[in-house]
Amino acid sequence: MSLTIHLPANLQPATDGQATISLDTNPATVADLIASLVARFPDLRPLLLTSDGMLLSHVNVFVDGRSHRDIDGLQTSLADAREIVFLTALAGG
């Protein structure tokens, strides 16, 4: 199953300006997804993770419209997932 990942504007400088990334094969879990994204785009690391590898608290990962925090956290399975949306905190007013 292919997976489409939507990244917010403030992460796109770390992904060569890509707003959307498509994967032909789904990672097993949200943790695996983040690890593979950070491996592919190293500049994403400080935008997503703390220095000790925790997901930053102002980053939410939505799996087909539901927050990973409301499913199984970083162990949320992506086996049947179609769409991932990263949501980060904004304050522009």
């Binding site: 939507h6 917010p8 504007a9 403030n10 707003a19 959307t20 943790a31 695996d32 983040i34 690890a35 593979s36 950070v38 491996a39 935008l47 997503l48 993770l49 590898g53 925790m54 997901l55 930053l56 608290s57 102002h58 939410n60 939505f62 419209g65 539901r66 927050s67 990973h68 925090r69 409301d70 199984d72 956290g73 970083l74 162990q75 949306v85 949501l87 980060t88 905190a89 904004l90 304050a91 522009g92 007013g93």
Partner: protein, 275 residues
Amino acid sequence: MSDLNPMPLPDLTDEERATYEWQMWVPGFGELGQRKLKRASVLVSRIGGVGGLVAYQLAAAGVGRLVLAHAGNVKPSDLNRQLLMTHDQVGKPRIDSAVRRLRELNPRLQIRGVAENVHPGNARALVEDVDLVVDCAPLFEERFAMNDAAVQLRKPMVECAMYDMEAQITTIVPGQTPCLRCLHPEAPRTWTRQFPVFGAVSGVVACLAAVEAIKMLTGIGQPLTGRILKCDLRNMNFFSLQISRRADCPTCMVQSQESSDSPPSNCHSDSISDA
């Protein structure tokens, strides 16, 4: 939805009926909805690119009273998006420019202009003065101060923000929905006071926020409660995302202890190991 304001509904004047005729044709709104707007009071935190348009739309719609909080003087760099500010007011207080523009649009509008930004020391008194809050501040410190006061006082708050060509909006109902700290417990360290913005983008989220305010004040439609609308205006992708309260949210915990509600548990470890 129960009324946010316990005061009796005021009647409309003939002038008001003429002004609001076309919106009173909206099904489910009618003259009753217009009277609810006339009775209502709304606090808008900062009246810049987002808040200025929120205030303008609410003034146009006939909300009875606005409380506006914004410090500082008009700068040239405000003028690409802060549509309540004008060239002739550069160097003069923003709040004065905003009040003048709003009165030109709606001379019946009651306005309390506060030449301060929101902070923990004034948030509670500002929120106490109104039925509903629209949070449009450009700094997380101000947003968290407003969030905490709104939740403590059980006042609904429309939370709207933008960056670059993206916008986000949700409506917070204390005791029922997640609050700002449930969604984002901490501010990003990388957030800066200045950010890329077109006025058309801040205006989009402002108009969405004004729609939410009108719905909350009059009970029409389905507000953005328990979900956040993320708008990617660069690619025109819109996402409606479900959100829920965090069991460890300090703001909701205090409010829950006061009201003996308890938020749902949703704690998970957020540690990542490298691939």
